[in-house]
């Protein structure tokens, strides 16, 4: 695996990466709980067709649209202390940029969604007002994955985590370290 230049002492970098890792694990728990709430929300909509935004199953679902952006914002702020995670031209990490864009789309669509449901009471997953909502989450998760893999790959490179034995996984880590997990052209 290509060695990245060390701009801060190794021990400092490992500690900082693990602090980012703490935020990531907390957000992972949140995301896992929201997966459960997809079923709770689905069962709610089988019994009450269209409800308000403030029923309990929605508190749970919508609270992750607050928790995860705040968590990623915390990661983005702290991330500036780890040089290897910087994006092109010392900008914010590309994965974090995608995550922020995805959640901005989602937050915008929450408003659109409520306006739509003011007139149309159905609750079908595929209605147009949900499109940007769902695509925003997918874009956010894709960016988050690129970022998380990069953090893990760097921890492997610094000897703080175990490298993947599967050659395909190892190749993914290598690409992530070079900032090219999704594109060989855009770092």
């Amino acid at each position: 695996m290509a060695q990245m230049p060390a701009l801060i002492p190794k021990e400092v970098e490992i500690q900082r990466l693990k602090k980012i890792w703490l935020i990531v694990i907390a957000m992972g728990s949140t995301a896992a709980s929201v997966e459960v709430d997809n079923f709770v929300d689905g069962s709610l909509h089988q019994t009450s067709i269209r409800d308000s935004a403030f029923t309990p199953a929605h508190w749970w679902l919508y609270s992750h649209f607050i928790t995860l952006p705040l968590g990623w914002a915390a990661a983005a702020i702290y991330d500036r202390k780890v040089p290897v995670l910087r994006g092109p031209n010392n900008s914010i990490n590309t994965g974090l940029k995608m995550t922020i864009l995805g959640y901005l789309a989602t937050m915008f669509t929450i408003g659109v969604n409520e306006m739509w449901h003011f007139w149309f009471v159905e609750e079908i997953f595929a209605v147009p007002n949900h499109w940007m909502f769902n695509m925003g989450v997918v874009v956010a998760f894709m960016g988050a994955l690129a970022y998380v893999v990069r953090v893990y790959a760097r921890l492997v490179e610094l000897g703080a985590e175990t490298p993947g034995e599967n050659p395909y996984v190892a190749e993914m880590y290598k690409m992530a370290l070079e900032g090219k997990l999704y594109s060989r052209a855009i770092p």
């Binding site: 060390a6 701009l7 801060i8 002492p9 021990e11 400092v12 500690q15 900082r16 693990k18 602090k19 890792w21 703490l22 694990i25 907390a26 992972g28 728990s29 896992a32 709980s33 459960v36 709430d37 709770v40 069962s43 709610l44 009450s48 409800d51 029923t55 309990p56 199953a57 508190w59 749970w60 703080a160």
Partner: protein, 119 residues
């Protein structure tokens, strides 16, 4: 290696161990206390949220559903807590298995009592 302003001796040499400690601040393996408190706070908040659901919106959120959600969420939070402490302490000499066992045991018993007697 270029160090930030205020670190290292002026001009020459690398980072000394005291410099490294200053740059690190609180080490992750010493964060078990705050991680444990955060887990307990999250667990209490989960109870509060589900309790509010089946107390104020019983037609939309029956008590059984609330208890089910509370149990599942407690399991998810417990796994997150375990990962946090174990990952932060790996590679160090710290070992907080006792704290983890007591915390997880207490929240398990608390979850069972709440699910049986509250609501």
């Amino acid at each position: 290696m270029t160090l930030p302003k205020g670190f290292g001796s002026s001009g020459a040499g690398g980072a000394s161990s005291s410099d490294v400690e200053r740059m690190i601040g609180r080490r992750v393996e010493n964060m078990t206390g705050i991680i444990t408190l955060s887990y307990i706070a999250a667990w209490l908040a989960t109870f509060g949220g589900t309790w509010a659901g089946y107390t104020y919106y019983p037609w939309a959120y029956p008590t059984n559903s609330g208890h089910f959600a509370f149990i599942v969420l407690t399991i998810i939070e417990a796994i997150g807590y375990l990962f946090c402490v174990k990952v932060m302490e790996e590679g160090s000499k710290k070992n907080s298995n006792g704290i983890i066992a007591v915390t997880l045991g207490a929240t398990t018993i608390g979850t069972l009592i709440i699910s049986l007697y509250v609501g």
